[in-house]
């Protein structure tokens, strides 16, 4: 497993880790921007984020495996995805007023129906999939 422990006894390897991080981030950001550009250019109906996943997937396929210099950064980004989602969740605060009018209906539609849908989906999946 890749780890992000910094060791002060090995300054050179620290610099290497940081450089790898910067490089991988730059690489991933350029995929994001390239995906946005493609979407605008061809007026594609799919969102740029999904296009980005496809582009990176194709890149991985061409490489045959995750390039070693990116492994750490990719793991770190995935592990802490929650942190990057916080601003979006906070922005919900600004719309709380809508919820006072139809509080009960929206509660049912968002909370109860989401739980039921998850339950139905997971049952169907379990029924179709072999045991893993």
């Amino acid at each position: 497993m890749p780890s992000y422990k910094t060791s002060f006894s090995k300054p050179l390897s620290n610099i290497k880790t940081i450089l790898q991080g910067v490089l991988s981030l730059a690489f991933l950001f350029s995929i994001v921007w390239f995906a946005r550009y493609l979407k605008l250019l061809f007026e594609l109906p799919v969102p740029a984020a999904l296009l980005g996943i496809v582009i990176f997937y194709i890149y991985l396929m061409l490489c045959g495996a995750t390039p070693r210099f990116m492994a750490n950064t990719v793991q770190l980004l995935l592990k802490h995805m929650g942190l990057f989602l916080i601003p979006a969740v906070i922005s919900v605060l600004a719309y709380l007023a809508v919820f006072t009018d139809y509080a009960f209906a929206l509660f049912l539609a968002i909370v109860v129906s989401t739980i039921i849908s998850l339950a139905v989906t997971v049952m169907v999946a379990k029924w179709l999939l072999p045991n893993d």
Partner: protein, 247 residues
Amino acid sequence: MINDALTLFAWLHNMSTYELVSVLLTSSIWIGFTSVVYVFARLLFDRVKQNPLFNPLAISSIVICVALLTINLQVADYRAAVTPLELLLGPATVALAMPLFRHTKVLLTLGWRVVIPIAVGGTVAPLLAWFTLYQLDVPMDLQMTMLVKSITTPLAMETTALIGGIPELAAVFVILTGIVGATLGPLAFVALKIKSEYAQGLALGSVAHVMGTSKAISISEACAAFATLALCLNGVLTSILLPLLFL
């Protein structure tokens, strides 16, 4: 993107040094605060043996909300200050291709057995939510907005505009659905005694989009791969099918 960079550059140039320093300082303080809260939420999550109710994303959002309300800071100001954090969501989403790539073999062998649950999740979730609102006589634009609740935010906003909903509200519904799915979903799995990580991943990804997927990452890499596939397929299918149904 180049336009964004130029505007940013011009804007930074028009500011006095004092303003520039204060903007950068506010930004660092809020990013720092958010990260510290997140780290503590994760530590708490490990302390309670990863009880899904203590989802780090939910806990840290609540703490930050309380902080913002206490000091009376506008949500828009907070959001502007933590923009760099939000920008990182781009590369993090792209990084989802890695678990997907590593589990390609399993996914291909399972084939339609994977696609059907995704289609079920992607159909049942919006229809059930819409039906609830329809039965309770909620205004039409709210009903339409609810139909996009299970797909990722940018896509949901574009699609809802096409079918006559309210884009900003679509983002709110999507996010709330994600939070509910990520925190309460795992409890439903326990109640139903479903241990299959593949099945859990498919449900989380198709019903609770990227937030469900971020929960799936903490379950296992295979779970993350299934969730990512569900997220992608459901996003593409809903955004293509919904406008066709209503136009």
